[in-house]
C-alpha cells in the first residue's frame, strides 16, 4: 500500500479518539476525527474515508441511525466501536450494514485485526481474492475445493455454502440470518440450531481441535466469523 488508507474515527470522547488515533497511526493508517454525527457526515463527504469507526452514543444523534446514512453516501466500511453490548443492538447494527462490532473496552490488537479485515474485504470486493488460507486450511471459492494440510476434505454441499459465505468476508462476523439465508434459501423457518449442527460438522472436518475452534469462531448470539488470512 503506497497511500495509507484513511480512517474516520467518530467518538464524542477525546481520550478515546486520541487512543484510537495513536494505535491506527502506528499501524500506518491516516486518521481523521469527528466528535459528533454532524461533523462525521461533513468529513465523510469531504474526505471519503475507507473505514469509519463509529461510536453509537453520540451527542447529537444515535449512531445506529447514522449507519444507513453513511452507507447511502459513501462506500466506507463501517466498524461499530461501542460500550453497548446488548445482542439486539449488535444484530441491528450489522443488519443495517455495519461490517463489524467491537465492544468497549476493546483489545487494541483485536481492533486493528478487524480494521485489517475490513480493508481486505474492500480489496476482495474490488475484484481480488478467491482463495483463502487459514492455518493449514485452504479454501478455493471458485474451484469449490477445500484442503487441509494439502489433503482434500469432503464437505457436504450445504457445509460448503456456509463456509463460502464466511470466507467471502474473512474476519468479519456473518449473522445467523445471513448464513441461514445462504444455506437454506427456500426455507425461512430454519432455526439457529440447524446452523449450529452444520458448523459443528465443518469444525469436525477442518479444526485442529474441534473443542477449541480457531477457524470458525462463534460470535455470541450474533453469528460466526472465519479467522483467516488472504
Amino acid at each position: 500500500m503506497t497511500i495509507p488508507a484513511l480512517i474516520l474515527v467518530v467518538d464524542d470522547e477525546p481520550p478515546i479518539r486520541r487512543l484510537l488515533r495513536g494505535a491506527l497511526e502506528r499501524a500506518g493508517y491516516a486518521v481523521i476525527e469527528a466528535g459528533s454525527a454532524k461533523e462525521a457526515m461533513a468529513l465523510l463527504a469531504a474526505r471519503d474515508p475507507a473505514v469509519v469507526l463509529l461510536d453509537l452514543g453520540l451527542p447529537d444523534r444515535d449512531g445506529i441511525e447514522l449507519i444507513p446514512l453513511i452507507r447511502k453516501r459513501s462506500s466506507a466500511t463501517i466498524l461499530i466501536v461501542s460500550a453497548r453490548d446488548a445482542t439486539e443492538e449488535k444484530v441491528a447494527a450489522l443488519d443495517l450494514g455495519a461490517a463489524d462490532y467491537v465492544t468497549k473496552p476493546f483489545d487494541t490488537e483485536e481492533l486493528l485485526a478487524r480494521v485489517r479485515a475490513a480493508l481486505r474485504h474492500r480489496l476482495t470486493a474490488d475484484g481480488g481474492q478467491t482463495v483463502l488460507t487459514a492455518g493449514g486450511v485452504t479454501i478455493d471459492l471458485l474451484g469449490h475445493r477445500v484442503t487441509r494440510d494439502g489433503e482434500a476434505v469432503h464437505l457436504t454441499p450445504k457445509e460448503f455454502v456456509a463456509l463460502a459465505e464466511l470466507a467471502r468476508f474473512p474476519g468479519r462476523v456473518i449473522t445467523h440470518q445471513q448464513l441461514l439465508r445462504a444455506v437454506w434459501p427456500n426455507d425461512h423457518e430454519r432455526h439457529v440450531e440447524y446452523l449450529r449442527v452444520l458448523i459443528r460438522g465443518i469444525r469436525q472436518k477442518l479444526e485442529a481441535d474441534p473443542a477449541r475452534p480457531s477457524l470458525v469462531v462463534n460470535e455470541l448470539g450474533i453469528g460466526y466469523r472465519l479467522i483467516g488470512s488472504a
Binding site: 445482542t87 426455507d187 440450531e193 460438522g201 474441534p210 462463534n218 455470541l220
Partner: protein
C-alpha cells in the same frame, strides 16, 4: 422505579429505629398472686438459654418454693447488693452489676416492687427501664392490680388498695404474656398452701380471693393484654380513632333509631366514651315495627351503624317486642353504666298508652346513668308513622280465616244437637287462635269478629238475625270477642318474636360464615375474591371489588368473574372511592349505574369499593337487607385493613433487608474497585521509572478484572431488578465454553484450562449472553479460588435425565456445609483472603441467571484431588432434540 415508589412511611421507620438497639421487655401478666408467673418466666428463660441466649437472674422471688428454686439453679444469678437503710441491711437487685455483666436477657421478678430508699431508682420498673435502654432484654412479672390505671377499679371491688403501681406505658411498650389459670384452680392452690401471700393481703384474704373477685381480675388482665397488643399493632401503623386506655368500669350503650338524629346520638356516645375512656356499643332494637321501615329508615340505621364502627364502637342489633324491653335487657347484659337515647317524638296519645320509653328506663333500671338527647323538631319526619302496610298476599290470610270460621260454623251446626250453646262459642276460639298464630294480629282480630257474627247469626236466638234476645248471650258474645282479641294479641306476639329471632339467627349465621370464609384468605387477591363470592352468595347478586389507583379504579375481583365494567359503573366506583360514600343505583349519586357501590373504609382512607348488581335490574339490595350488608362490609373492611397492614409491615421488613444488602454491596464495591485501581496506578508509576513487560501485564490483568467487575455489577442490577429478558437460542456448548475462555484469558493468564467435552454433546436452549456470563463467572471463580498453577477443568456428562456441565478447580474447596450458601449475594467464603476481590457477586449472578434460564446450579467438593466442583444442570426440557437429517442433505 419512580422516586418514592417503595419508600416506607418515614414515621413508621423512625419508630422502628427508636426501638432498635433497645432491649425488649416481656411481661408475664397475672390476675392475682399464685397463678404461676415466676414459674412460667423461669421456664421460658430456660428455653432461651437452651437456644444459646445469655440469660442471667437479676432477681427472682422464689418465696421458698422448692419447684421454683430448682428452676433458678440452672441459671447464673447476679448476687443482690446489700443496702443499709435505717440501721437494717436489705438486699436489692444489683443494677450496676447487671449492666456491667451485660447479658442478653435478664430476669427481673415483681416489676411493681418499690426499692429500698437509697437505691438509684425508687421503683424497680425504673431499673428495668435502664436495663432496656442499655440494650438488655428483660423478662419480668406483674399482677394486674398493680397497673396504675386499674388501681382504683381493683380497689373498688376487692377493698384492698395496692400501693405499688406500674405506669400503663410500661405495659404498652412490652410484649405481654398472660399467665392464666381458672379461679377455681387458683383457690384450690391457695387452700393447698401453694401460694405465697404477702402479709397485707393475708388480712383481706377471704375477701380478695373470692371467686367473683378472681373472675373480675382475670377478665381485667385478659382484656388489658388484648388491648395492649392491639395498641401496639395500631401504633405501628398510624394513629387510630380508638385511642387511650380503658378504665375498666364504664361501659356506654347508645340506642340508635330510624330517625334523622341517629348519627348525632352516635357522635355523642363517642364523645362521652372519649371522656370516660370507656368502650361503647351502638345498639338498634329491632321491634316488629322495624319490619315496616321504608328504605330511608333502613338507610339511616345502616348509616348510624357505619359511623359507630368507624368511630371505634361496637354495633349490635337486638330483636325485641318493644324498645324498652330490648334496650333494658341489652343494657343490663352489657353491664352498661351510661345509656344514651334520643328523646322520643311519639305523639301524646302513644305516650299515654305506652308510657314514654325514657320514663320507664329511668325508673326501672338502676345503677345506670341515662342521657336523653333532645332531637330537634325539624329533624323529625313530617308525615305518617306506625301505619302498618298490608303484607303482600294478606288478602289470602283473611280469606283463609273466613273459611276456617265457615268450617267451624258447619261443624257446629252438625254437632248442635249434642252441644250446649256456650260450648259452641268455645269452638269459635279455634279459628281465632289459628288465624292469630298463623297470620298475625289483624287476621286474628278479624277471625274474632267473624266468629262472633257467625255465632250470633247462626246460633243465638233469634237465629238468622244479628239481634240478641237473651242478655246472658250478650255476655257470652262479648266474652268471645274479648278472648279473641287477647288471644290474637299474644299469639301474634309470640309469632313476631319467633320471626325476629329466626331472622336474627340467620343474620348472625351469615356474618359468622362470612368471617370464616374471609379468614381462610392468605393474599389480598384471595381475600377480595372471597368477599365478592360470599356477598354474591348471601344476597344472590353479582359483585365486583375495585381498589383506587392513580389511573382510576382497578377491578380486582368479581363474582361471577368480570373483565371490565362500563364507564358509568367506573364513574360510580370512582365516586365511592373518592368520597367514601355509596354511589350508583339505589344511592343518591349516579343512579343511572346498574351497580351500587359501597365503600370499604379504614380509619383514614377508602380501601376499596364493593359493587353489587342484580341481573333483573332491580335495586341490588333490599332495604331490609341493608343492615346485614353493612355489617358484612364492616367486617370485610376490618379484615382487608388488617391484611394491608400486615403486608405493609412485611414490605418494611423486606425493604430493610434490601437496604442492608445495598449497604453491604456499597462497601464491598468500593473495596473491589479500589483494589485493581490501586494496582494499576502503582504499575503506571512503576512504568514511569522503568517500563517492564511485567508491569504491562499487571495493568492488562487488573484492567480486565475491573471490566469484569463492572459487567458483574450491571448484571447483578438486572437480576435484582427482576428485569431479565430472555432471548432463548440453541447453542453449542463448545462455542459457549470457547467464548467464555476467550473473554477470561487475561484473568486466567498462566492457568491451564482443560476442556473435556464429548463431541456428540447435544445442544442446549439458553440465552447466549446470560449463559456466557454464567460461564465467565464460574471460570473466574475457579481461577480465583483454585491453587495457583493447578489446572481448571471443564467437563460435561449426558445422562438419562439431562446434561451436566461442570467447572472444576483444585484447591481448598468449599467449607463443608456452605455448598449452597456460596450462591447467596455477597457471600464470600469465610476466612478467604480479602485480596481475592470479587464482592461475592460472581456466584450470585451465576445463580440468578441460571435460575432465570431454568438451569440448576450445584456446588460440591471434589474428593481427589481436593477442590470445588460447580455444576450447571440442564433438564431434558432445555436440551435440543436431534434435528431432521434431511435438512442437511
Amino acid at each position: 422505579m419512580k422516586p418514592g415508589d417503595d419508600k416506607p412511611d418515614p414515621d413508621a421507620l423512625l419508630r422502628i429505629a427508636a426501638r432498635e438497639g433497645r432491649g425488649k421487655l416481656k411481661l408475664f401478666l397475672g390476675a392475682a398472686p399464685g397463678v404461676g408467673k415466676t414459674y412460667e418466666m423461669l421456664a421460658q428463660a430456660a428455653g432461651r438459654r437452651k437456644a444459646g441466649i445469655d440469660v442471667v437472674v437479676g432477681v427472682v422471688e422464689t418465696h421458698g418454693r422448692a419447684e421454683t428454686e430448682a428452676m433458678t439453679r440452672g441459671l447464673e444469678t447476679i448476687p443482690r447488693a446489700a443496702i443499709t437503710y435505717q440501721g437494717r441491711t436489705l438486699a436489692e437487685m444489683d443494677l450496676d452489676a447487671i449492666l456491667a455483666r451485660h447479658p442478653g436477657l435478664v430476669l427481673v421478678d415483681e416489676l411493681a416492687h418499690s426499692n429500698v430508699p437509697g437505691s438509684r431508682h425508687p421503683k424497680r420498673y425504673q431499673d428495668v427501664e435502664e436495663l432496656l435502654a442499655a440494650g438488655i432484654d428483660v423478662y419480668s412479672t406483674v399482677n394486674i392490680q398493680h397497673l396504675e390505671s386499674l388501681n382504683d377499679v381493683v380497689a373498688s371491688f376487692t377493698h384492698v388498695r395496692v400501693r405499688e403501681t406500674v405506669p400503663d406505658s410500661v405495659l404498652e411498650a412490652a410484649e405481654i404474656e398472660v399467665v392464666d389459670i381458672p379461679p377455681d384452680e387458683l383457690i384450690e392452690r391457695l387452700k393447698d398452701g401453694k401460694v405465697y401471700i404477702p402479709d397485707e393481703a393475708a388480712r383481706a384474704l377471704n375477701h380478695f380471693f373470692s371467686k367473683s373477685n378472681l373472675s373480675a381480675l382475670r377478665e381485667l388482665a385478659l382484656r388489658r393484654a388484648a388491648q395492649a397488643v392491639d395498641a401496639q399493632m395500631l401504633d405501628y401503623v398510624r394513629e387510630h380513632a380508638l385511642a387511650g386506655t380503658w378504665a375498666g368500669t364504664e361501659r356506654i350503650v347508645v340506642a340508635i333509631n330510624e330517625l334523622p338524629g341517629a348519627e348525632l346520638l352516635v357522635r355523642t356516645a363517642k364523645r362521652i366514651s372519649d371522656a370516660l375512656r370507656a368502650p361503647w356499643t351502638a345498639v338498634h332494637i329491632e321491634t316488629p315495627r322495624a319490619r315496616h321501615f321504608g328504605e330511608t329508615e333502613q338507610r339511616r340505621i345502616a348509616a348510624a351503624f357505619n359511623l359507630a364502627s368507624q368511630l371505634g364502637g361496637l354495633v349490635a342489633t337486638v330483636p325485641a317486642v318493644s324498645v324498652f324491653h330490648g334496650l333494658s335487657a341489652f343494657a343490663i347484659e352489657a353491664r352498661a353504666t351510661q345509656l344514651i337515647i334520643g328523646k322520643s317524638s311519639r305523639s301524646r296519645w302513644f305516650e299515654l298508652r305506652h308510657r314514654s320509653v325514657v320514663d320507664r328506663l329511668v325508673r326501672e333500671t338502676s345503677g345506670m346513668a341515662v342521657h336523653v338527647l333532645p332531637l330537634a323538631d325539624e329533624m323529625l319526619p313530617k308525615v305518617r308513622r306506625g301505619i302498618a302496610r298490608a303484607e303482600p298476599g294478606a288478602w289470602r290470610a283473611y280469606l283463609a280465616t273466613l273459611m276456617m270460621v265457615a268450617a267451624v260454623t258447619v261443624v257446629a251446626t252438625e254437632l248442635f244437637h249434642i252441644l250446649a250453646l256456650g260450648n259452641v262459642a268455645l269452638l269459635y276460639l279455634l279459628p281465632v287462635m289459628l288465624a292469630a298464630s298463623l297470620f298475625g294480629r289483624w287476621p286474628g282480630v278479624f277471625a274474632g269478629l267473624a266468629s262472633s257474627l257467625a255465632y250470633n247469626f247462626f246460633f243465638l236466638p233469634p237465629v238468622g238475625t244479628f239481634s240478641v234476645s237473651n242478655p246472658e248471650n250478650v255476655v257470652t258474645l262479648l266474652v268471645l270477642l274479648g278472648v279473641a282479641f287477647v288471644t290474637s294479641h299474644f299469639a301474634a306476639r309470640a309469632r313476631t318474636q319467633a320471626d325476629l329471632a329466626g331472622s336474627s339467627a340467620r343474620q348472625n349465621a351469615a356474618i359468622a360464615g362470612f368471617a370464616r370464609q374471609l379468614t381462610t384468605a392468605r393474599t389480598d387477591e384471595e381475600l377480595m375474591q372471597a368477599i365478592c363470592a360470599e356477598v354474591a352468595r348471601l344476597f344472590d347478586v353479582r359483585t365486583a371489588l375495585l381498589t383506587p389507583s392513580s389511573a382510576g379504579p382497578v377491578l380486582r375481583a368479581a363474582y361471577p368473574p368480570e373483565d371490565r365494567l362500563a364507564t358509568i359503573e367506573m364513574a360510580a366506583a370512582q365516586w365511592t372511592l373518592d368520597k367514601g360514600q355509596p354511589a350508583g343505583r339505589g344511592s343518591d349519586t349516579l343512579t343511572a349505574s346498574d351497580w351500587l357501590f359501597h365503600p370499604l373504609r379504614a380509619t383514614d382512607r377508602t380501601m376499596a369499593a364493593l359493587g353489587v348488581a342484580r341481573d333483573d335490574g332491580r335495586n341490588p339490595i333490599r332495604s331490609d337487607q341493608l343492615q346485614l350488608l353493612m355489617s358484612l362490609i364492616d367486617q370485610a373492611s376490618l379484615v382487608l385493613d388488617r391484611m394491608q397492614i400486615e403486608n405493609e409491615m412485611r414490605d418494611v421488613a423486606e425493604l430493610r433487608e434490601r437496604d442492608r444488602l445495598r449497604a453491604a454491596l456499597l462497601s464491598s464495591v468500593s473495596h473491589d474497585l479500589r483494589t485493581p485501581l490501586t494496582a494499576i496506578r502503582a504499575a503506571v508509576d512503576g512504568m514511569r521509572r522503568a517500563p517492564t513487560p511485567a508491569l504491562l501485564d499487571e495493568i492488562a490483568t487488573e484492567t480486565a478484572r475491573l471490566n469484569r467487575f463492572v459487567a458483574n455489577l450491571l448484571d447483578m442490577a438486572r437480576v435484582e431488578a427482576g428485569a431479565l429478558r430472555l432471548t432463548l437460542q440453541a447453542i453449542d456448548l463448545t462455542d459457549a465454553v470457547a467464548g467464555a475462555l476467550h473473554d477470561t484469558q487475561q484473568i486466567l493468564a498462566g492457568r491451564e484450562v482443560r476442556i473435556e467435552l464429548p463431541a456428540d454433546l447435544p445442544m442446549v436452549r439458553v440465552d447466549p449472553q446470560l449463559f456466557h456470563h454464567v460461564l465467565i463467572n464460574l471460570l473466574d471463580n475457579a481461577g480465583r479460588y483454585g491453587d495457583p498453577g493447578t489446572p481448571i477443568t471443564v467437563t460435561a456428562q449426558r445422562d438419562g435425565m439431562g446434561l451436566t456441565l461442570s467447572v472444576l478447580d483444585e484447591g481448598a474447596g468449599l467449607p463443608p456445609g456452605q455448598e449452597q450458601a456460596v450462591f447467596e449475594t455477597f457471600h464470600r467464603l469465610e476466612g478467604s483472603d480479602r485480596s481475592k476481590a470479587g464482592a461475592g457477586l460472581g456466584l450470585a449472578i451465576v445463580k440468578g441467571f441460571a435460575d432465570a434460564m431454568g438451569i440448576g446450579v450445584e456446588a460440591a467438593n471434589r474428593v481427589a484431588p481436593g477442590g470445588a466442583r460447580f455444576g450447571l444442570r440442564f433438564g431434558e426440557g432445555l436440551i435440543v432434540r436431534p434435528l431432521d437429517e434431511k435438512a442437511f442433505a
